[in-house]
Structure formats: C-alpha cells, structure tokens
C-alpha cells in the first residue's frame, strides 16, 4: 500500500516539467505533436470559453451566481484598464482581459494535484512554468506596444527614450539606460511569471519528497513527516495567492507599458 503511494512521488522535482508528445504529428519535418503542454492550454482555453458561455447564456438583470462571478472578473479588469491607460485604453480591454484570464486559469489549473499511480500523460501540467510560453506572451505584449506606439505617435514615439526637461549633457547616459530598460521589459515580464510558477512547483515537490522519505524511513521518523506536510499545505495556500497575483501583475504591467506607448509624445 505504502509502496503504491510512494512510487509516483519518488521522481525528482524536475520531472513534472517534462514535455512529451501525446499525439505525435509532424508537418514537413517540423514537430507539431500535440504535447501535454498543448493539451493543458486547450483545457484552460476551453474552460474559459465554457465558463463565459454558461455565464452569458441566460444573462439577466438579476445575475445568478455564475453570471455575477463573470461580471466581477470583467469589472475588475475593466477598472484596471480604465485606471491605468485611461478612456483610450478601451480598445485594449479584450487583449488584457484575455491575457489575464488565460494566465490565471493556466496558473490555477497547474495547482490541481495529479492522481498517484496514473500514467504521466494524464498528469496535470502547468503551461506557464515554461519560459517559452511566458516569453511568447511577453513578446506579443511588447509587439503590440511597439506597433501601437509607432502608429499613434510616429517618430515621436522615440521621445520615450529621451524625456523632455532633462539637461542635454545627461542624454548620453540617460538614453542608453532608457533603451536597455525598454529592451529588458519583455524579459522581465516573461521571467517573472515563469520563475514564480517554476519555483513554486519545485518547492511543492520538494516538500512532498520530504514527507515521502520520512514515511519511508519508518518507525519514529514517520512522526516528523507532519512538519513537511504542514509546510506543503502552507506553500499550496501561498501558491494560490501567487497564481492570482502573477496574472494580475502581468495584466497591470501590460497596461502600464501600453500607457507609456499611448503617451510617448507627451514625455
């Protein structure tokens, strides 16, 4: 009995991030297999669509429980966009809302525990714990910021790197600093989300590993297993906070960067 409980968790803390194909596909030598990462992205997107379909199916003046949850989420992001970018930020609301929900659901679904003893293909996978996923989202954001900034301000967009009211002798120092700071935005956006998810799941797995090895030691040592168990519970609670907070941070930083792009000429 104990063996069956232990075996699935005996794997190291890094195995949970392994990507493997579930449906192998290839297109002209390019590997486009349906991986466990892609499956969990589809599950997350599907859950969001199903939730909003349910919420708006019988929308009424007096909202039911599902509808008011959807309305709370909508108003939360709507207020965020309006307070940060202003009224001209309305056109970015769909993008920010999608980004927020997708990251929130990906983070939260990653916290669902996997059943012990099941094959690895059915294990829960946190899509945002891979740098390439978060970097794609961050690059998309920066791409939108660049295109919108250049379209709205033209060449004046580059005033973002040379704020007005700064003495001219400071420019040779300030402009490279501003350029580097702008270039590091996608990196910092991506690494923040990735490292939070990655570190959280490694810590959870390490605590789980402590419990298992203390149980495996047998005798009086099994009593000490209660300490890492409490630790694992506390970290799980913290991870729920981090999952929601990181989605919020990603959304608010996207809004701040878009505001910078919108008002670049006023600098």
């Amino acid at each position: 009995m104990l063996d069956r409980l232990i075996t699935p968790f005996a794997a190291g803390p890094m195995e949970q991030f392994e990507i493997f194909p579930i449906v192998p596909l290839s297109l002209g030598g390019l590997d486009i297999s349906l991986t466990n990462s892609a499956v969990w992205m589809l599950i997350g997107s599907g859950a969001i669509i199903a939730f909003f379909f349910m919420a708006t199916r019988r929308a009424g003046l007096i909202p039911n429980r599902v509808q008011s949850t959807a309305e709370v989420l909508y108003e939360f992001v709507s207020d965020l966009v309006r307070d940060t970018i202003g009224t001209e930020g309305r056109k970015f609301f769909p993008y920010v809302f999608t980004l927020f929900l997708w990251i929130l659901i990906a983070n939260l679904f990653g916290l669902i525990p996997s059943l012990p003893g099941t094959p690895a293909a059915t294990h829960v996978f946190t899509t945002t714990s891979h740098l390439i996923v978060t970097l794609s989202l961050a690059l998309l954001t920066i791409f939108i910021v660049l295109v919108y900034g250049l379209w709205k301000n033209g060449a004046k967009f580059f005033k973002l790197f040379a704020p007005s009211g700064v003495p001219i002798w400071l420019m040779p120092v300030l402009v490279p600093v501003e350029v580097i700071s702008f270039l590091s935005r996608p990196l910092s956006l991506a690494i923040r989300l990735f490292a939070n998810m990655f570190a959280g799941h490694v810590i959870l797995k390490l605590f789980a590993g402590f419990i298992v090895s203390l149980l495996g030691a047998g005798g009086a040592f099994m009593v000490f297993g209660i300490a890492p168990l409490l630790g694992a519970i506390a970290v799980t609670a913290l991870e729920f906070l981090v999952a929601a907070l990181q989605a919020y941070i990603f959304a608010i930083l996207t809004c701040i960067y878009l505001r910078d792009a919108a008002h670049a000429a006023d600098h």
């Binding site: 890094m14 910092s188 690494i191 490292a195 939070n196 907070l245 941070i249 930083l253």
Partner: protein, 75 residues
C-alpha cells in the same frame, strides 16, 4: 577544484539575491503598513501600487533562482 564542486558553489552564490529581495520586500510591506496605519482611508487605493512594487522586487530574487537553476541544470 573540481568543476562539479565549483558548479554547486556557484549555484549557492546565485541564491544570495534572496537576501536583497527579503530586505526589499520587508521595506515595501513595512512602509506600506506604516503609511496605511497613519492614513487608513488612503490604504485601499494604494494597494495596487504596493502589489506592483512587490512583484518588481520579487523579480530580483527570482532572477537569482533562475541563474542557480541554469548553473545546476543547463551546464
């Protein structure tokens, strides 16, 4: 010194940013609380800024963690 040993020492040194992140987070939450106790009515509207500062500071520690992971597993 063996390369393997140097790798582990390097990974250990790369966790030093945790000290800086700890000091920074303590300053942020401490200053936010002292401000919030002085003027509780203004606390709620400054919460997003506090959370933003929290995320920006936390990034320093996480960057150290990422470097440690790169040293341990990528080389």
């Amino acid at each position: 010194m063996e390369a393997e040993a140097a790798k582990f020492i390097g990974a250990g040194l790369a966790s030093l940013p945790l000290a800086g992140a700890g000091v920074g987070l303590g300053l942020i939450f401490g200053n936010f609380l002292s401000g919030a106790f002085r003027n509780p009515s203004a606390a709620a509207q400054n919460q997003p800024t506090m959370l933003l500062a929290f995320a920006l500071t936390e990034f320093t520690g996480l960057l150290g963690f990422t470097i440690a992971m790169i040293i341990l597993y990528a080389f």
